[in-house]
């Protein structure tokens, strides 16, 4: 008990608190800008974190981490451009709600609420059942990762609002793009067309920015000319979501947060997978599944709760096992170690007050993030009232700047422009860009764990069918794929 009070004292310290707020603010900005990743923000502010004594630096990094996952939804909803890969799923219903239904404030309010809900839920799980979840996460080996990837891929059918066959084709193209480069499982160099650039694989972020931001801007240019885009002067009365919205989304948020926490605690998986799976599950269990893709509130709440729930979940392997779940948690682990906190099984025993400070810090970060989000909604909505003649050139320029900031490479920029142009045409042909992105994100995970599992089993495919967790996800994937067709037949 005394430890908790000490921890509260640490957070209440004005300097620490200011660092937390600063971190959340920086995080939201980095998250909202496509091309600026959370890892970049953490790496840039790491020296600052080291310079601060005590928990201040850690709290700042926690703020950045939570803020960045939320920040991505802002550009996803307003500009159909995911600021981070974890917000791709938010574009599916967030943007239609903002533009077709002319309710950007509602979308942002839902996203903020869901994000905070997910973050708080996962932190509570972290506090209560971290050791249990850690034990489950240790059961995950290559077959389980493969099954999880397949399950993630199965949602291509639900995000392909145009045409399922084309969605699958897009997904396959994405999976193929993920194979370009040095194959880490065999050492072979595949499909690089003898260029050095492709040796490191197809750059994912430039394609993401091109296919979402640039092609959407080009589409907006067309709509402008067609005068189909009426200049909307949207004003909002209430920043907080309405009670009806909250009531219908509560179960969704709960389910998505659970999914996100679970996926977060498995090392190597992150917000992107969590948001897609949450969206998919929300759609399958919803009474309004037909409305998904057209501004359904559950479609905004689900991915946002899911991706923010990863934040607490990702700390479970860090704090209990000393194993970082992804790049961002690896950076934070380094920061923890420099402060003298050795994450791992001994941490809870040796340094309880600091651990509680991390817990409370995570909770506070999510609450501050929500407060900041709500207070900025009116400002963001005003941005949508900016005339297109100014907004579109700015967005176009920012795609270049964002892409270049990512890897300091003009080749990335060329790829971004090419993807944008290609994306425009593919959107016309009713391809789903989300399907391609899912393929690229999950392609590596799927292939490497497929091959790896067969290495572990000496070439025996039975390994996929004799492990319970693996079977569970494979079965879930099959059900996910088949269910829509069965449902259609019933009707």
């Amino acid at each position: 008990m005394a430890d908790i009070i000490t921890a509260l004292g640490m957070i209440a310290d004005p300097f620490n608190f200011v660092c937390l707020i600063f971190g959340v603010g920086v995080g939201i900005m980095f998250g909202a800008m496509p091309g600026l990743s959370v890892n970049m923000g953490l790496a840039l502010l790491l020296p600052l974190a080291f310079a601060f004594k005590g928990m201040a630096g850690i709290l700042m990094l926690l703020g950045i981490y939570c803020g960045a996952i939320y920040g991505g939804s802002i550009s996803a909803i307003l500009l159909k451009t995911p600021g981070t890969p974890a917000s791709v799923a938010t574009t599916l219903d967030g943007y239609p709600m903002a533009v077709e239904l002319r309710q950007p404030g509602r979308a942002l309010g839902l996203s903020t609420t869901a994000s905070a809900f997910g973050g708080v839920f996962s932190t509570v799980c972290l506090i209560i059942c971290a050791p249990l979840l850690a034990k489950i996460s240790l059961q995950f080996s290559k077959p389980e990762y493969f099954a999880l990837a397949v399950f993630g891929l199965s949602i291509i059918t639900s995000v392909s609002s145009g045409n399922v066959i084309k969605g699958i084709m897009g997904g396959i193209i994405g999976l193929f793009l993920a194979t370009v480069g040095i194959d880490a499982m065999s050492g072979a160099i595949r499909f690089t067309l003898n260029t050095t650039y492709l040796l490191g694989g197809v750059s994912f972020i430039p394609i993401l920015i091109g296919v979402f931001a640039l092609s959407q801007t080009l589409q907006s240019v067309e709509d402008c000319w067609r005068k189909t885009q009426l200049q909307q002067h949207v004003s909002i009365d209430n920043v907080l979501p309405s009670l009806t919205d909250l009531k219908c989304c509560f179960v969704t948020m709960l389910r998505s947060s659970a999914i996100g926490t679970f996926i977060g605690c498995i090392p190597g998986t992150g917000g992107d997978i969590a948001s897609f799976v949450s969206y998919d599950q929300a759609k399958r269990w919803s009474k309004h599944s037909d409305n998904f893709g057209h501004g359904e509130p559950e479609g905004v709440a689900a991915p946002e709760a899911g991706n923010n729930a990863v934040s607490g979940g990702a700390f479970i392997p860090v704090l209990t096992l000393g194993i970082p779940g992804d790049g961002a948690t690896a950076i934070m682990m380094g920061a923890l170690m420099v402060q003298g906190l050795q994450p791992g099984p001994l941490l809870f025993i040796d340094k309880a007050p600091d651990v509680y400070a991390i817990f409370i810090g995570l909770l506070m970060a999510n609450i501050i993030m929500a407060c900041m989000g709500y207070s900025l909604i009116r400002l963001f909505v005003k941005l949508t009232n900016v005339p297109n003649t100014i907004l579109l050139p700015i967005i176009m320029l920012m795609t270049f700047v964002g892409t270049y900031s990512y890897g300091n490479s003009m080749t990335d920029v060329y790829i971004m422009v090419a993807s944008g142009i290609l994306g425009y045409f593919l959107n016309k042909l009713k391809f789903s860009m989300s399907a391609v992105i899912i393929g690229i994100i999950l392609g590596g995970m799927a292939e490497q764990n497929f091959v790896g599992s067969l290495i572990m089993s000496d070439g025996n495919p039975a390994i996929f069918f004799t492990r319970p967790i693996c079977l569970f996800f494979l079965a879930a994937a099959v059900i996910s794929l088949v269910a829509p067709f069965v449902m259609k037949k019933k009707r």
């Binding site: 890892n39 790491l46 040796l199 490191g200 050795q342 791992g344 490497q448």
Partner: protein, 320 residues
């Protein structure tokens, strides 16, 4: 309209000249006479990146008035960044980090740039391969492990960070030296995944950089049997080196701050002197030790020699 275009073009020209000048003060002496770009051929936040940024911040403090600007160029697996560095103007204002992959890639057909295009300043980290096994394993020393491996040829699953990557090469070297056979299981996402797999008992052993496994080793869930280095690790003073046990193998994942070949000797010496002070200072050592990394102070010519030695070793080993 025409006037406006002309005005804009003029502004553009002005901005173009101004925007790329940066902050240059031609009065001060090197290194304070301009920004020093440090190309880091890895993504931000990774191990090499954080170590590089740490080294740079210490160097900046030591060299008064200097400004080091880290630039991440993760394209092409890092090769693009290293190639760009080798082609940069050798005026002391462009430096970069290179990793042990520089010594490996040319012999794997992945790159043409070699250590001969660079002169080194210092290498702050040179993580040795350590033999790490699970707690329940029936072997507690290197010899017991080798004996077990000989009896169970091809059965021990040895985790690595990717086929053809450094820890796999270390394992292959081990196989050759001790005449044993493993089952190599690649974990392309890196050592953290290997740590998770060992903790979950999905693999039995690994030869890798021990810093990621530190929390598990300290907690007793993993055992570290031997280290491929010249001297014992400060974190595990009880663990013998391969050299002591009669097998002088040294496979290290190093990262070095280098300059393109042809950089004037005076400027290089300024950097090397500062690096010597920094790498031997207490704050520098503490910074890395707290993260579980054993810092090294390989400066100047010693660093050049290390890069050349490793290049020769991999040439011999990989060209078979």
């Amino acid at each position: 309209m025409k006037k406006l275009i002309t005005l804009l073009m003029l502004t553009a020209m002005l901005l173009g000249v101004a925007g790329c000048g940066g902050s240059t003060e031609k009065k001060a002496a090197y290194p304070a006479d301009g920004d020093i770009t440090v190309i880091i051929p890895k993504a931000p936040g990774g191990g090499t990146d954080t170590s590089a940024r740490g080294l740079i911040s210490f160097l900046q403090k030591e060299l008064k008035g200097s400004k080091f600007v880290p630039v991440n160029k993760p394209d092409g697996g890092g090769i693009t960044g290293m190639v760009e560095l080798s082609k940069a103007k050798p005026d002391g204002h462009t430096l970069g980090m290179v990793t042990v992959e520089l010594a490996m890639f040319p012999h794997q057909g992945k790159a043409t740039v070699t250590n001969r295009e660079f002169v080194s300043v210092c290498a702050p980290i040179a993580a040795p391969a350590a033999l790490i096994v699970t707690k329940e394993a029936p072997y507690n020393t290197l010899d017991e492990f080798v004996k077990y491996a000989k009896e169970n040829s091809g059965k021990i699953s040895m985790g690595n960070s990717g086929t053809g990557a450094i820890w796999h090469i270390a394992a292959l070297n081990f196989e050759k030296e001790f005449d044993v056979k493993f089952k190599h299981v690649p974990y392309p996402k890196g050592s953290a995944d290997i740590a998770a797999a060992l903790a979950g008992k999905h693999i039995e052993a690994t030869l890798a950089d021990p810093s990621v496994f530190k929390s598990q080793i300290d907690a007793g869930t993993l055992k570290i049997l031997a280290v491929m280095a010249d001297t014992r690790s400060e974190f595990y003073p009880k663990v013998p080196t391969f050299k002591e046990l009669g097998h002088p193998m040294a496979i290290r994942a190093w990262a070095a701050l280098v300059a393109p070949k042809g950089t004037p000797k005076e400027k290089l010496d300024v950097l090397r002197k500062a690096a010597e002070k920094v790498c031997n200072s207490k704050e520098f050592k503490d910074y890395f030790k707290k993260q579980g990394i054993d810092p090294t102070a390989i400066i100047g010519d010693a660093c050049d020699k290390m890069m050349a030695d490793d290049d020769a070793m991999y040439a011999k080993f990989l060209k078979k």
